[in-house]
């Protein structure tokens, strides 16, 4: 598949940089963090405001916030990437098969999609987390099960419009199997928009993780997910406001980067997009 000329402009650059920084931080965490995020808890250092020794201050257990945020990036990015992979996998498979084979399977998938779209995704994720219990694996599964409808709809629509195209029918006549057609002929043509959906979805997943952890259903303390840090910080808002600022800022910058990147990709891949500078 030929990579189209990317013209996303500023969004692409800023977004790419932010996301790039987040990825680097996550990979290099052991090198750039100052302490172990979970174990280095010294009550003597409890609730120290940001300063020379502790760049972002410390929390109620005396843990260094800076190090926790650095390690937290690993959790956030893992959640974002893996859940979106799952979403895309489910969405693409359902969309491809529903559009291509049609019939009762298509009706079933469409009904399923309608049902998913009727439930606010956070609430659905909430319900699944309630069943699976807190923790990273359950979180990834829960988020991976909630947002597949977008990629499913897109894929299905594209399949329907491409199905009648000449080269698809030619492939059929040549005896290509259905699966082969789906993966080699149709999929490459819709990869662009799917990547955009996945990128934007990562941002949503990270925000959802934060929300769920805040509610107590996501990552539980002492693990340093940015969301669980925020949930711990809430009660100390008056005494130690910095506890709330930094995790939130980290979330904001990462999601902003993903949104800008997604936007830039979308503009770069679709010359008629109107979200770009007019």
């Amino acid at each position: 598949m030929k990579l189209p000329r990317l013209k996303g402009g500023t969004s692409l650059w800023i977004g790419g940089t932010l996301v790039g920084v987040a990825i680097l931080v996550a990979i290099a965490a052991p090198l750039i963090a100052h302490t172990d995020p979970v174990l280095d808890a010294n009550l003597m250092n409890a609730e120290i405001p940001p300063g020379e020794e502790f760049w972002f201050g410390t929390d109620a257990q005396g843990r260094d916030i800076y190090s926790r945020i650095v390690y937290g990036s690993r959790i956030s990015l893992t959640v974002g990437v893996v859940s979106q992979l799952l979403n895309s996998l489910i969405g693409i498979s359902l969309g491809l098969t529903a559009g291509y084979w049609g019939g009762w399977w298509d009706d079933f998938v469409s009904g399923l999609t309608n049902m998913m779209l009727a439930i606010p995704s956070l609430i659905f994720a909430l319900a699944i987390m309630a069943i699976l219990g807190p923790g990273l694996p359950s979180l990834v599964i829960a988020l991976g099960l909630t947002a597949w409808s977008y990629s499913c709809r897109l894929t299905r629509a594209q399949v329907l419009s491409l199905k009648s195209q000449g080269y698809i029918q030619a492939a059929r006549i040549l005896g290509y199997g259905d699966l082969r057609i789906m993966f080699t002929q149709i999929l490459p043509n819709i990869l662009g928009p799917l990547i955009v959906i996945a990128t934007l979805g990562m941002g949503t997943a990270i925000l959802a993780e934060a929300a769920l952890s805040f509610l107590g259903l996501g990552i539980r303390p002492p693990f340093p997910s940015w969301g669980s840090m925020l949930s711990e910080a809430r009660d100390q808002i008056t005494t130690a406001p910095w506890l709330s600022v930094f995790p939130g800022l980290a979330i904001f910058l990462t999601v902003l980067g993903l949104n800008l990147l997604g936007d830039g990709l979308r503009d770069g891949l679709d010359p008629q997009s109107t979200t770009r500078r007019a």
Binding site: G111, N114, M115, L117, A118, I119, P120, S121, L122, I123, L126, A127, I128, A130, I131, G133, G203, L207, A210, A211, F214, L215, G216, L217, L230, A233, R234, I237, T238, P241, S244, V245, P247, G248, I251, F252, V255, L256, L258, N259, L260, D263, T274, T275, R277, A278
Partner: protein, 312 residues
């Protein structure tokens, strides 16, 4: 117009039933039930025989399909079951929470529409200008904010530091208590509406019929008023309808943060307490509400776009 409506409503019911079924199925798999939960705090022990009897009373031992059928039948008559926790009817429990939730959701949406739509309009009418860039930067930032973090920051600034507004709670129901939660909840939809409106208006401004309008000698403001607005409205209304869905999801979190006595916080509490009938009732209510909103959006379409009314 009526057949269009009837068809829409006919679609809603199966979706609703499917959702109830899903929720039912999910929660029947819930490890640990309320009953066993009652004995889990370690301090009290419940006689197994009593537990047995409670299970029988609550019908928890009946086969799944039977329980489901009973649930549907009861729901159709407005009986959502009895709370495991308080033994009150679920409808009563939820009923008292509906109004605060509605206030919050509509308050947030009003904020989002009143700020987001005009902003998007202005940005589209002056593309590339300062106001365009500023609003779009603001919009994408608004979309990247964690809503409860925003709420927390707002709470810190306006309630705890400046002491202008109460920091949490419903209070006497006055607007003071509504402001912070509604703004925190509404920023996300506002951002999306600003972007969508801008895109819709730009699209329309480039349309052929707008060129015709200009060729008639119409001034730009007139063109916007007579030709652009209505056409851009369709896309904007769709977005508003869809936003209600994510709004209600986020409302759960905002309600918990601000200790707002709505359906969302009830849902969360019930999940933790394994109060399944209440959980099911809350979800049912939220989904129904969302479906109703979407149906209203469809009706609005029909009113605005004659192509749907007189069908082609």
């Amino acid at each position: 117009m009526l057949p269009v409506l009837a068809r829409r409503l006919a679609n809603v019911i199966p979706t609703l039933v499917a959702v109830i079924a899903l929720v039912f199925l999910l929660f029947s798999v819930l490890p640990g039930s309320f009953i066993s939960g009652m004995g889990e705090d370690g301090r009290t022990t419940i006689d197994p025989q009593v537990m047995e009897r409670m299970r029988k009373e609550m019908g928890l031992d009946d086969p799944l399909p039977e329980r489901f059928a009973k649930y549907i039948a009861h729901t159709a008559t407005g009986d959502l079951g009895t709370s495991f926790r308080t033994h009150e009817p679920v409808t009563t429990l939820i009923g008292v929470r509906v109004w605060p939730s509605l206030k919050l959701v509509f308050g947030a949406m009003c904020f989002a529409i009143l700020v987001g739509v005009p902003l998007g309009f202005l940005a589209a009418l002056r593309p590339g200008s300062l106001i365009d860039t500023a609003s779009m930067v603001g919009a994408i930032s608004g979309l990247s904010l964690s809503q409860f973090w925003l709420g927390l920051m707002l709470m810190y600034l306006f309630a705890l530091q400046l002491k202008w507004l109460p920091s949490f709670g419903y209070g006497d129901g006055g607007i003071q208590h509504l402001i912070l939660p509604a703004v925190a909840l509404g920023v996300g939809p506002m951002a999306l509406l600003a972007r969508t409106t801008r895109a819709a208006v730009l699209d329309v401004l480039n349309a052929d019929f707008v060129r015709t309008a200009r060729s008639k000698g119409m001034s730009e403001p007139r063109v916007v008023k007579w030709h652009v607005m209505r056409n851009a409205l369709v896309l904007v209304i769709t977005t508003i309808g869809l936003q209600f869905g994510s709004l209600m999801g986020a409302a759960v979190v905002v309600e918990k943060l601000f200790a707002w006595p709505g359906v969302g916080s009830l849902l969360i509490d019930s999940v933790f307490q394994r109060d399944i009938p209440t959980v099911q009732g809350c979800i049912l209510l939220i989904v129904t509400f969302f479906l109703v909103i979407n149906t209203l959006v469809d009706i609005a379409y029909v009113a605005i776009d004659p192509r749907i009314r007189y069908g082609r």
